[in-house]
């Protein structure tokens, strides 16, 4: 006789701009050793949405060499062009218009406008200006921002399809530094809230999901692990575990319970 399978399979897609995704882990494609490692890590992560940067081509050099999109065909992944490296709204808008042309009219983008080259902290004023311009132009904007709930609310009000606050600084791996602000943003938002930046290891990703985040976007935590492909698999499990724990609903915290898990009666004496 087969053992009954009591595992719960949740029908719990991540919906962004009307499209459903099975994976709640979004990954970047930077900092890998080579394209083979990039692809292997992304496969192990189970991610369906992967970010790409837009940069000038090297003129006259290595025209025949493979490109990132040979390894990550747009037919298999939802490519999320980002504006990393942009410090003004104008540059961010220009970059994403180029991305839309590059990707045959693709509308879903990640907006990120930085304010400081050392910390990579976002410039939220430029971010809002860029978001408004992009949305007017028909883009679906997933927006990287600080963990300020008021700014998050404004970005939602102008029409962003996902709010993506930092958990700590980009590339820092410092984890979730202000869970309470994230919680405020999650509670007030009607669009998905994803942690973008700051995750260092699997437990950070699980904590983000247990807080109620709709997903997590990460790059360095996987690419800069000693074994990126192994870490990618760990992150996949952490995201799933954190999501299931959030939906399951954790037990209340209490200092002590005086309620052991084993029966109090029937002890041998």
């Amino acid at each position: 006789m087969n053992a009954p399978n009591n595992s719960v399979v949740l029908d719990d897609p991540l919906v962004i701009a009307g499209r459903a995704y099975r994976s709640r882990l979004l990954v970047g494609t930077g900092k890998y050793k080579d394209f083979d490692e990039t692809r292997a890590a992304i496969d192990a992560s189970g991610a369906e949405i992967v970010t790409v940067a837009i940069r000038r081509t090297n003129i006259g050099q290595n025209a025949g060499e493979p490109s990132l999109l040979d390894y990550l065909p747009p037919s298999q992944f939802t490519l999320l062009p980002n504006t990393a490296g942009c410090y003004t709204a104008d540059d961010a808008v220009r970059t994403l218009k180029l991305a839309r042309e590059l990707l045959d009219g693709h509308k879903l983008v990640k907006l990120e406008v930085l304010g400081d080259p050392n910390t990579l902290y976002p410039n939220v004023r430029e971010t809002i200006v860029a978001a408004e311009a992009l949305i007017r132009d028909g883009f679906d904007v997933m927006v990287y921002t600080s963990d300020d709930p008021i700014i998050a609310r404004e970005l939602e009000a102008v029409g962003c399809v996902a709010i993506m606050p930092l958990a700590s600084l980009i590339g820092s791996g410092m984890g979730i530094l202000n869970p309470w602000n994230l919680k405020l943003i999650i509670e007030q938002s009607k669009v998905p809230v994803l942690v973008d930046a700051g995750v260092g290891t699997a437990s950070d990703a699980a904590v983000a999901m247990e807080l109620g985040c709709a997903g997590v976007l990460m790059n360095t935590a996987i690419a800069s692990a000693q074994r990126p492909v192994l870490m990618a698999g760990a992150m996949k499990k952490a995201i799933e575990a954190g999501r299931e724990a959030y939906i399951a609903g954790r037990m209340p915290r209490r200092l002590y319970a005086a309620s052991p898990s084993s029966p109090g009666r029937g002890l041998i004496s």
């Binding site: 494609t29 970010t51 790409v52 837009i54 940069r55 990393a84 991305a99 590339g171 790059n219 360095t220």
Partner: protein, 68 residues
């Protein structure tokens, strides 16, 4: 000869009245997934064969690369 700024550097097009499609061929980028901006405006792929480059044009040629 037409002298343009290509990705921030001076570039001489060999052909007379070069089109963007000629430039792409010269750069061995035909068939590659790229996007082109001319003086701050996107030039859609369908317009590459008809868009003539003029002296002093600022051309950006971009592609997707790894990034977060």
């Amino acid at each position: 000869m037409t002298s343009i700024q290509l990705n921030g550097s001076p570039y001489l097009c060999r052909k007379l009245s070069p089109r963007i499609s000629d430039l792409i061929r010269d750069l061995s980028l035909d068939g590659k997934r790229i996007a082109i901006e001319r003086n701050g405006e996107i030039v859609p792929r369908s317009k590459h064969p008809e868009t003539v480059l003029l002296d002093g044009d600022k051309i950006e040629v971009v592609a997707a690369v790894g990034g977060g």
